[in-house]
Structure formats: C-alpha cells, structure tokens
Point group: C2
DNA sequence: TTGAAAGCGCTACCAT
DNA sequence: ATGGTAGCGCTTTCAA
C-alpha cells in the first residue's frame, strides 16, 4: 500500500498523526500501556496501523540494552546432517522467547572463534550458545568473558553450563536392547574408543555396565574410525579371519551402515544371523533394510533446552544430561539357536 | 585482565585516555583515518588496546543505517541434511563481507513467514535471503516490500533475483554418463515427475534431450515418491513383473538407495547387471557400495553466490543457474553383453 | 493522564 | 589536524 519511495515511518510520525507525544505513543506501542486513557490508546493504535509503523529494533535495543538476539557459534555443525537439529531446537525456542539467532561457524578454526565471539558481543547479543558437531571437551575463547553462555554438545573445564546427551545411560539402553532379546554370547563392539572421545568413552561405560550385570562381556572389539568404509573394511577382515558375531554394537549409524554392507557381502543376514544396534538415529537408520535399532541423539531437545537455560531468569549452571531416545526398529532378534 | 565488574568501556573513555575528542577517536578506530597525525593515531590505538575497547555495533548501526547483518529465512532447510550447505556457503560469504547471518525457519508455516520477514526488517538487516529445502516456486510475503532480497533454491513470479541449480543441464549430464558408457537400451527412470516439481521437470527435460540425441528413450518409468522405501517397493514390484533394466536414472540419492536395496534383493549387481546414476550427491552417495555416480547440488556455491549478489554494488536481477557438479564414482559400467 | 527532554553509544557535519 | 555538537529512533525519567 505505502509507496515504496516514502521514507520509513517513525514513532514520531505515529505520535503526530495521533496528536500525542512520542512518549505516550511509545508507551502504548510498547505494550506498557498503564496510565493512558482508552481513547488515546485507540487513536495511537489506529495511527500506527494506518501508517504501517514498524519500530526500529536497533534503536530500541540501543536504548534498552537488550537486543533480543542470541549468538550461536558452532564449529561446523550445520554440515553433513549432524547438529542440524540442535540448531532447529534453538531456533524454535528462540522464537518462543521472541529472540532471533545470529549464527556463526568457526569451521573448526581456533583463530576464528574469538573473532566471532567478539563480534557477537559487540553486536550486543543477550547470550551465547557455543556448540560442536561431535560431543567433545573444548577450550573456550577467553573473549567469552563474563558473557552469559551455555555450551551445547560440548563440555569445558572449568565447567560452564552445558547441555549434552546422557551417553552413559544411552550405552546402557543399547546393551539392554541386546540382553533383553536374550543375547549373551558373541556380542562385538564396532568402532574405536579413543580416550579423548567423550561419547565413545561414555557409551562404552554404559554398555559394559549392563553387560557385566548380565554376566557377560564383549566377545570382541573391532577398532575402526566411525565411518562406513572403515567399518566395512574392518568387519570384513574380522569375518574373513573367522569371527562369527551374534550381535553387533556399532558406535554410530555410519559404522552400522558399513557393518550392514560387510555382513551382506559375507552372506550374513540381519537380524537372522546377526543383530545390530547403533547410536545416533540419523535418517540413515530408518532407511536401512532392515531398519536399524539405534539410540538417538536428542539434538532438537538440546538446542531447545540450551536456549531456555540461556534466557531463563536464574543463571544457568552445571551440566544437563538429556536422555537419548531409544528407537527400536527391526535389526534385533533373539540369538539364533545354531 | 579487566575486572569483570567494571562497566563497558566506551569510545568516550578511549578518547579521554588518549586526550583527544571522541570524534577523532571514532575516525581512527573506524579506519577512516585520513587527516589525523600519526602521533595521535598511535595514541588512540594504544588507548583502545589498553582499555580493551569494543565498539557497540548497535550504536554504530543506528547512526550509519547499516547493520552489516543479513537475514535468512528458510522453510525447513536445516533439517535432514538438505540445505545445510546452502547455509554454510552463505555463512562463508557473509564472513568475507564482514556481515553476520540472522537465521530463521518458518517451518513451512505460511503464517510465520511475514512475521519473520517483518522482524528482520525491523532489525534493520541489509538484505534478505529467502530459501527453501527443495527447489520450488514460491509465494513471497508481501512484507518483503522493497527490501533487497535474493531467493535461493526457489523462484517466484514475478521473477525476483534468485540462484538455483541448473537442473536441465544436470539432467543432460546424467544422461551423458549413461550414453557415454554405451547405454541405449533398458534405461529406466525411477522417481515421480510431478508437474509442479521444478527439479523433476527440468531434470527430465535434460535427460530426454540427450537420450533423444542418442536415438533412444526411457524403456520404462517407475513412478514413486523420492524416498528409499517407496523406491524399493516400486522397483521390487517392477522387477517381479519382469522388468530387466540395464541402467537406472534415480531422481535423487534417496531413491537410489532404495533402488540399490531392491536390486540387491533381486540378486542383481551394480554396476555389473545394472548401472545407476542419480542426483544430489548427498553423503549417502559416497557411502553406498559401489559408490554412487551422481549429479550434485551446488548448495555451497548457491549460498555463497546469493550473498555476493545481495551485497554486491549493483542490485541483483534475473535468475542465476549454477552448474551441478558431476560426481563419477563406481555405479556405472558399459552394458553387459547378455 | 500526558509531554519535554535527556540519553543509549556512536558517526558526521561544520567549525576552528 | 582536531573538537564541538547534533543527531540516528527509540525509551524513560521527571515535571506538569
């Protein structure tokens, strides 16, 4: 409606149009409309509507010292499926809080991190979310200073508030899926468990917990990077060397994909000959045949929770461990009676 | 170093510390340091460093009417792998331009779109990127008004500046992969080609171009949604009905996954019995065995190009079609001499 | 119940 | 070469 050449309409214009001061106009348009007569209130509202007034949020922020913006710095989380749902969760929660997300990627460049953080601070964000694609321990840029910050999918020492998956309990759940189906023998772990990899260590701990409680243990462990090809190669070699697993615990879905391929190549069926359980619940898990039973990453909830914490009234603290959802599908069966 | 309880240091403080006016301080700290003596310049720089001065970008923006922020509204692009690289491309380019990205997701809710756009405008973004997960024609919220905007992976009428994949040429490339390998007979298309789906129509057009030029055509077309399970079911049924394809053109990688599974179930090998070519170049493509030859989506470049256009000196116009990269892997072989 | 005026922290104009 | 000062568009005392 409004001619596009016209200059932006200001609060002052609305006030003038309604024959009030801009102070009063600000009051009612800001929703803090105590102490103003119903009549003037309506006049102002109507004027704003007629002129199609849009407040300049920068000006407001400068005055109020609140930007209703939160900064999110990720290492490389938006790539390759991982982490995308963290952002969606954060986006959803931000929207509910009336905030917007300023997103940066450091591309894993440690030089870039403080630069990005500085810039966000300069832009007056109300808080910062710091997140990584894979659950990890991180060094934080000193420039984070006394900003309000919560870590997502990573942890730091000294401990800053953070939200991560409850990997230990996830590990337990995975093992339970197998033991509940009756598995005790020939359970083999696929995927390396490096000491510095938090998810590996914790999933393993949970797995061993439950296995031990069922009076058993892994029959074998196959060490390989968490990728399909590496898992295929390693498992194929192990199979060729005579390994005859009854159940596989894959440390993520990519590994499970490689395992499926190796099993198929060796003429072994899932779950008839070998049961498979995994972690992550990526899209892949539901696409595989048979569909993969897997312990999911609560990414969406992590993003959402982090924002709630960041924007909550009491300053966040401690590490919040979110439950990993159990997705039972078709890759687990009782051990065959061979 | 600085005590965290101290109030933020202002330009005024730096100026005072260096015994100059804030006008002069602004000049040198803003990098527009003509007309100022080297001596004072150094004094100001040192003062800023000592006090750890960080300019308040909101204040600057309010004054200069430039926020160095660009808004990106997506439907649901950050989910499920698709579209993530568009954002990474946009992020990278924004960084180079000294801009930051304000990201929103409308979750496909048409009610939300104008709200988000309005909010971005209110936040004084320098421009808006409008993008969708799947290449499509879109209605734009009227509130986009006279904002500077470029569409990514979608198109509108009347045509706004937009950047999309060159699907027709991509279709040609896919067909060429097959004809170059010697295929003429038993080429079948897998995946539905709805009239309103831009990528389907255009890929098909390119495919038919090249096939016709090679004096052939699809031997059959299998209509199914672009998902693994649907493709598996449809192809399995076709195979059971006696179809004996020599080559498959799958309209995306998910369909190709379903096709691989159906082929394997029917005892057919790739590429020995059947060659397969696909579109998208998702991670999946390189994980499949044999690795899938596929025509990639230039997502990263789309994001990057869109930002360059948006921030370029001359106002963007027209639709830019970016080449789809050809990823030759191991799923295509000459037709077997059966 | 309302309005005048003083800022938020910065940049840009016009003096000197 | 430098400084005083007037805004950017809003909110928030404080006085009327």
């Amino acid at each position: 409606m409004a001619s596009s050449a016209r200059r932006r309409v200001l609060l002052r214009d609305v006030a003038e149009h309604a024959s009030v001061s801009s102070a009063t106009a600000s009051l009612v348009l800001g929703g803090r409309d105590v102490r103003v007569s119903e009549d003037t209130r309506q006049r102002i509202l109507r004027a704003a509507r007629e002129l199609d007034y849009r407040p300049n949020l920068m000006a407001r922020s400068l005055r109020t010292q609140v930007s209703s913006t939160i900064g999110l710095v990720a290492d490389t989380i938006i790539t390759g499926h991982y982490g995308g749902d963290i952002i969606r969760g954060a986006l959803t929660a931000s929207l509910e809080h009336g905030h917007r997300l300023l997103i940066c990627e450091s591309e894993g460049d440690p030089k870039l991190e403080p630069v990005l953080v500085d810039d966000l601070v300069a832009r007056q964000v109300d808080g910062i979310l710091f997140t990584t694609a894979s659950h990890d321990a991180v060094e934080l840029p000193a420039s984070l200073g006394d900003q309000r910050v919560v870590l997502v999918n990573c942890e730091s020492t000294p401990a800053l508030p953070s939200v991560v998956p409850d990997e230990v309990e996830g590990g337990r759940a995975a093992a339970r899926l197998l033991t509940d189906a009756g598995h005790r023998d020939g359970i083999v772990l696929v995927g390396e468990t490096l000491a510095r990899k938090l998810p590996a260590q914790r999933r393993l701990q949970g797995l061993l917990d439950v296995l031990a409680a069922a009076d058993t243990d892994f029959a074998d462990r196959i060490d390989c990077p968490w990728w399909p090809e590496a898992a295929f190669d390693a498992l194929t070699a192990a199979l060729a060397a005579g390994l005859r697993p009854r159940a596989l615990v894959c440390l993520n879905d990519r590994v499970a994909l490689g395992a499926y391929q190796a099993l198929a190549a060796a003429g072994l069926s899932v779950p008839g000959d070998v049961s498979v359980v995994s972690f992550d619940d990526s899209e892949l898990a539901s696409w595989l045949r048979p569909a993969l039973s897997t312990i999911g990453l609560p990414e969406f909830e992590m993003g959402r929770t982090a924002v709630d914490l960041l924007l909550g009234s009491d300053p966040p603290s401690g590490v919040v461990r979110l439950p990993m959802p159990v997705r039972e599908r078709a890759s687990i069966a009782p051990p065959s009676s061979r």
